[in-house]
């Protein structure tokens, strides 16, 4: 399976997770070079990851530490 417009999200997700081998990464990069709109979409995506803030703890749990 090669990257195309029907499956590129899956390829990019695998690439961001480091799950593509060297050949697959090259295939993806070549595809993105041919599709600059999708390449643009990728910018800054690696920084989009959420950390659970402390306010997600239940009140009882927050109070138990005090």
């Amino acid at each position: 399976m090669k990257p195309d417009r029907s499956n590129y999200e899956i390829w990019i997700t695998d690439w961001l997770d480091g799950n593509l081998n060297e050949c697959q990464s090259e295939e993806l990069m070549a595809f993105l070079d041919d599709n600059p709109d999708l390449k643009e979409e990728l910018k800054g995506l690696d920084s989009v990851s959420l950390k659970a803030p402390t306010w997600f703890l239940k009140t009882s749990d927050r109070c138990s530490d005090q």
Binding site: E9, I12, L45, V48
Partner: protein, 161 residues
């Protein structure tokens, strides 16, 4: 599963299930109700559920209960242009994680749940697939689209600042 294992499950997974639901709904009362309902369902099905799979069973059950409620309430929100200005008019946000959480609230519910399962709970795509009922490919596609929407929100915030 034994009663002892049930009690152990409550001890180990109660907080993470609650955090997942609260992260989606931002409503403590409704999150409490859904988590309570999930534990009751587990209790009723105690003999049919093995302890090794209880964590994903709990998340799956809580997730589906929540989705049913959301759909009933037609609570679907999307990122809209005016939102960026509303946020900025109220407060200045400097912390990326805080901005991401504001954006998270405006994702479609199915994308928001996937981001929380992946980023908060560290579930694999296969596990998220089992919990959400989506295929692994659908999970990856929706996660990617959710992250693009979150990134776009950050970019718009920065452009307004």
């Amino acid at each position: 599963m034994t009663v002892k294992e049930y009690n152990r499950s409550v001890q180990e997974f109660s907080d993470s299930v609650y955090r997942f639901i609260l992260g989606n709904l931002k409503d403590e009362d409704r999150a409490d109700d859904i988590v309570q309902d999930t534990w009751e369902k587990l209790w009723r099905n105690l003999t049919e559920i093995e302890y090794p799979v209880v964590r994903s069973w709990l998340f799956k059950t809580a997730y589906r209960t929540m989705i049913d409620i959301i759909r009933k309430e037609s609570r679907m929100t999307r990122i809209e242009e005016s939102d960026y200005h509303d946020f900025l008019s109220e407060t200045q946000y400097s912390d990326l994680n805080e901005i991401l959480h504001l954006a998270l609230d405006r994702l479609p519910e199915h994308q928001r749940s996937l981001v929380l399962l992946r980023d908060y709970e560290g579930y694999s795509y296969r596990e998220i697939s089992e919990i959400s009922g989506m295929t692994e490919a659908q999970v990856k596609i929706n996660l990617y689209r959710g992250r693009v929407a979150l990134r776009n929100f950050i970019v718009k915030i920065e452009s307004v600042i």
